[in-house]
């Protein structure tokens, strides 16, 4: 397995207006890997990051997760959502400044036209006494190859991610198949 950089989006000093979208994703890799370092501007402790493919307007995305809030039992959640997969929380304006959320995301067999696309994530944020950790698994319900990916917070227009947020997209190459 080898990993190659495809694209990098760094939010400028004024914040990101609207979603972050990667278009024209090369179709030469086996899997995609995404690394998120982000924070939201909203007046709350945290906010969800949603992953979607813009070509799949109106689709129902499914995901489930194992979540921890730092105390007691970990919880399991099974959800479906319209419009994106929540890869879960990044800190927002009422969390101490300079703290960002972190996600690593894998999208398997993204060019395969015979299966829906599996998404798995690990990440969250920690603010020294608060925070959340999420392990998510989800499905992008399409047989089409994934050619674009979007990242949103609450699916809103306006500022979605604050300055110094970044999302990096990578392609992962598998070796040649050697048999069943």
């Amino acid at each position: 397995m080898s990993m190659y950089p495809i694209a990098s989006f760094q939010v400028g000093s004024g914040g990101q207006n609207g979603d972050i979208i990667f278009n024209n994703i090369p179709q030469i890799y086996t899997h995609l890997h995404v690394r998120v370092f982000a924070r939201a501007p909203f007046a709350s402790a945290d906010a969800p990051v949603g992953l979607y493919t813009p070509a799949l307007s109106g689709a129902v995305y499914y995901f489930h997760g194992l979540n921890g809030g730092g105390g007691g039992s970990a919880s399991s959640a099974s959800q479906l959502t319209y419009g994106d997969i929540d890869v879960q929380r990044i800190p927002a304006a009422s969390t101490a400044s300079n703290i960002y959320g972190y996600q690593t995301i894998d999208i398997l067999d993204y060019t395969n036209t015979n299966k829906y696309k599996v998404v798995r994530t690990l990440g969250g944020y920690d603010a020294n006494g608060s925070g959340q950790l999420h392990m998510e698994g989800g499905v992008i319900p399409t047989l089409n190859a994934i050619q674009s990916l979007g990242f949103t917070t609450y699916g809103i227009t306006g500022t979605t991610f604050v300055a110094y947020s970044r999302i990096d997209l990578y392609g992962i190459v598998a070796s040649t198949a050697t048999g069943a």
């Binding site: 080898s2 190659y4 007691g72 970990a74 920690d126 950790l133």
Partner: protein
């Protein structure tokens, strides 16, 4: 896993670049990666470790930049499972990241724990530094898996990582691999 060097002439260049690799010989409880290059976006630390401590568990921890071990800038939130349930916990105001559990000398021979940490935006001096971690230890009849998300509250770039075993030494054959992860354009 072949890891194409970014400095090679191949095109496209690989994203994961080996920086350092240490194999423990059993005589030290500490390994250090120093003078870490600052030209990547993230770091990834991948370890296979075991302790020489005469017990069934030891408690390894790591920290950056030779930080004073009386400091308070590390915290994490975690989830973990032991085969019978899943729980969540956290540490706060810590001088390091206690990465829970390593097999030790009284566990079966050949059993090592697996530790992997993504260290996010390590060279950036405008934000605190992030960590996403996974630890897996299987002792045969018992075992544990941990996941972490942590923040080190410092704007300083990370130039050094120290990993320290709590009670014993790192057993011979323990390995520590540090990689740099390039972004597009780096």
């Amino acid at each position: 896993m072949p890891l194409p060097l970014a400095s090679s002439n191949s095109s496209p260049k690989g994203a994961i670049v080996p920086i350092g690799f240490v194999i423990a010989n059993g005589s030290s409880n500490q390994i250090t990666f120093n003078n870490i290059p600052q030209n990547y976006t993230d770091l990834q630390l991948v370890c296979s470790m075991r302790s020489t401590y005469a017990g069934t568990a030891d408690y390894p921890k790591f920290y950056y930049n030779n930080d004073s071990q009386s400091g308070t800038s590390y915290s994490y939130t975690r989830i973990y499972g032991d085969g019978s349930g899943a729980s969540s916990g956290r540490i706060t105001n810590s001088p390091n990241w206690n990465t829970d559990l390593s097999p030790a000398a009284n566990n079966g021979a050949y059993i090592f724990g697996s530790f992997k940490f993504d260290i996010m935006n390590y060279s950036n001096t405008t934000t605190y530094k992030g960590m996403i971690g996974r630890v897996a230890v299987n002792l045969g009849s018992s075992g544990y898996t941990f996941a972490y998300v942590g923040t080190r509250q410092s704007l300083s770039a990370i130039t050094r990582i120290d990993y320290v075993m709590g009670l014993g030494n790192f057993a011979a054959g323990s390995t520590f691999a540090l990689y740099g992860i390039r972004s597009y354009g780096q």
